[in-house]
Structures are given as structure tokens and as C-alpha cells.
């Protein structure tokens, strides 16, 4: 009698899901820094810490949001905030959905320029019981004044998905898509 053998194609889907979303979040952040005229040196030199955080918390399914927050030095308010919100699925989605890179770049082109000297930082929002990851310190997001919101298409693969948003006050001429706070 013949034996039927198989291999679970989903065996490493979680690993691939985490890696795909981790890689694409960092891709979006680099693209935004370029289009917004911000120095990518800090992000380039922080890749190991950022990747460790993303991979750990996505793998634990404890990462809720990841922000690229732009502000002026010594200001208590943010100028703008690019936010990824993560979703986790028990049943993996086998479709590979691409991140909204072109949409984000197009909006970046339409935004008014940031003031000279603007800086940025990366802020993660996790569940309280998420693991500690070296290099990450307790922090809080700076408030945004007079901000509008612009959502982008979601993306992801397997067990992890993400949605992306712009919040800030640099959106001229996009009144049909913005929401006032």
C-alpha cells in the first residue's frame, strides 16, 4: 500500500510573515526619509536595533504600532507622524500584498516641505507584556496639533498584516481624504 507523504507548506509561514512585514516597514521608513528630505543616517545606523524590535514583537504578536515621528529639536509637539498599525491572523493569508510605497511617495511629493532642522525618531507601541529588546527605551509619542489623517492601502503576508497612516499638518489640497481632529 502506498504511503502518502506531504510537507506543510505553511511550516515557516510565520517566520516569512514576520520577515516580510519587518522588511517592508523599514523600506517605507527609508522612502519617507528620502522624500521628506530627512537624513537617513540615524535609521541606517539603527537597523539592527530596529530589526530586532520588529522581529521580536511581530513574532510574539505583541507589536501594535510603529511610528516614524518627525519633530523639531527640543519641541514637545510632533510635526508629523507616519504610523503602521499591525494585525495578526490565526489563518494565514497566502496572498502577498505589497506595501503602499508609490502611494506614500506620491503623498510625500504633495506635502509642504518640513522646516529646516527637523529630526525624527522611531517609536514602537507594544502590548504591556512584550519582551524587552536591547536598544529600546521607554518613551511616549509627542502630541500633534492641527493634524489631518491620510490612510494608505494595507499590506502583508501570512499571519501578519499592516495598515499605514500619515498624520500631520502638511497636507494641502487633499481635503476629500483628510479628517480633521
Amino acid at each position: 500500500m502506498a504511503k502518502i507523504r506531504g510537507i506543510g507548506v505553511g511550516a515557516n509561514v510565520m517566520e516569512k510573515s514576520v520577515t516580510y512585514v519587518c522588511n517592508t516597514v523599514i523600506q517605507l521608513f527609508f522612502r519617507i526619509l528620502h522624500k521628506r528630505g530627512l537624513d537617513a543616517g540615524f535609521l541606517s545606523s539603527s537597523l539592527e536595533v530596529l530589526e530586532n524590535g520588529l522581529r521580536t514583537w511581530l513574532g510574539e504578536q505583541k507589536l501594535k504600532e510603529m511610528h516614524l515621528e518627525v519633530s523639531l529639536p527640543h519641541s514637545s509637539d510632533a510635526l508629523e507622524d507616519w504610523k503602521a498599525i499591525f494585525e495578526y491572523y490565526a489563518e494565514p493569508d497566502e496572498n502577498v500584498r505589497k506595501p503602499p510605497v508609490e502611494e506614500v511617495e506620491r503623498i510625500c511629493q504633495e506635502l509642504r516641505a518640513l522646516p529646516a532642522g527637523a529630526i525624527y525618531r522611531i517609536v514602537a507601541v507594544t502590548e504591556p507584556d512584550a519582551s524587552d529588546v536591547p536598544g529600546w527605551i521607554a518613551s511616549s509619542l509627542k502630541p500633534l496639533r492641527d493634524a489631518t489623517e491620510r490612510p494608505f492601502s494595507g499590506w502583508g503576508y501570512g499571519h501578519v498584516g499592516a495598515k499605514f497612516f500619515y498624520h500631520g499638518g502638511f497636507l494641502d489640497g487633499l481635503h476629500n481624504q483628510q479628517k480633521d481632529y
Binding site: K16, T19, N23, Q27, F30, R31, A40, S44, L47, G158
Partner: protein, 155 residues
């Protein structure tokens, strides 16, 4: 001159793992053509690869060409592969060719020069040595036309 296409799948792999595979494939290709200055090329490859993580994360590396005399191996970076697909970095065909290049070249082809500059591509061209040339080539996003940059980083 003939060009052989190879492919490395980036999307579902850690960048460090991709770069290790790429590094090994580049070194193997130099070994298989019996390149005389093996230590020189291995050291250059390691230096070049060190500058790649931001370029790979930003997805601005379109391909990397290894110029071995009359033979060119073109490694394409596939950022959105089928999750079940495998890399194609088998360099064994080089064993069959009687190549003994006196010089080697690496062409780094970018799909977005502006973003590549932002994430630090400028450090790469200075890697060229007496026997190995590293050239950065920017490809126009709209037209697909290539503009070569000299190995001192000037347009």
C-alpha cells in the same frame, strides 16, 4: 559577450541572510574563474556587502553584475517573489567556461538613484582597486535608461 541571469529572493528573507548568500556567490564566482587576485576580491566583496543593508531595505538595488571578461553574471534582487520560490545563485556554469579574466568588475545597478544617495550609496564606488572595478549605474525609473557613474562617485 554573454549575460547569464541569476536571482536572489529578498522579500521573505532577513537582509543579513541575503547578504551572506550573495557574498558567498560572489566569492565563488571569482574562485571558479581562477581569478588571480582572490584575496583582493574577497576583501572588496566583504567591504561592498557591508554597505548594502540600507540599500536592500530601501529596495533600491535592482541588480548586481559580475563582469568576468567576456562573461557577465547578472544577479537580480527580487523583493516580491513567490513565497515558495527558491534563489537561483548556482554559479557552477562558470566551471565549464575557460575564463581567466585579468580584471573583474562589479556593476551595482540602482532603480532609484535619489533614494540610494539618501541611504548612503556614495560610499560604494570608492571600493575599486587595481584589478577590480566597482561601478554604480543609476537606472531612470521612468525610461529604464542607464547612466553610468565613474568609480570615483562623480556623474
Amino acid at each position: 559577450m554573454s549575460v547569464t541571469d541569476k536571482k536572489i529572493l529578498v522579500g521573505f528573507k532577513r537582509v543579513d541572510d541575503c547578504l551572506l548568500l550573495l557574498c558567498n556567490a560572489l566569492k565563488e564566482s571569482a574562485e571558479l574563474v581562477n581569478f588571480e587576485y582572490l584575496d583582493e576580491v574577497k576583501s572588496l566583496i566583504e567591504g561592498m556587502i557591508k554597505g548594502f543593508p540600507p540599500l536592500l531595505y530601501a529596495q533600491v538595488l535592482e541588480s548586481l553584475e559580475i563582469c568576468l571578461g567576456d562573461e557577465t553574471i547578472k544577479i537580480l534582487f527580487d523583493y516580491y517573489p513567490d513565497p515558495l520560490e527558491d534563489d537561483d545563485l548556482d554559479m557552477s556554469l562558470l566551471k565549464l567556461l575557460s575564463l581567466k579574466p585579468e580584471r573583474l568588475g562589479f556593476n551595482i545597478i540602482l532603480n532609484d538613484e535619489g533614494c540610494a544617495r539618501c541611504v548612503g550609496v556614495e560610499r560604494l564606488p570608492g571600493l575599486s582597486t587595481e584589478h577590480i572595478e566597482v561601478v554604480v549605474i543609476a537606472k531612470d525609473k521612468e525610461t529604464g535608461n542607464e547612466s553610468e557613474r565613474s568609480n570615483n562617485g562623480e556623474n
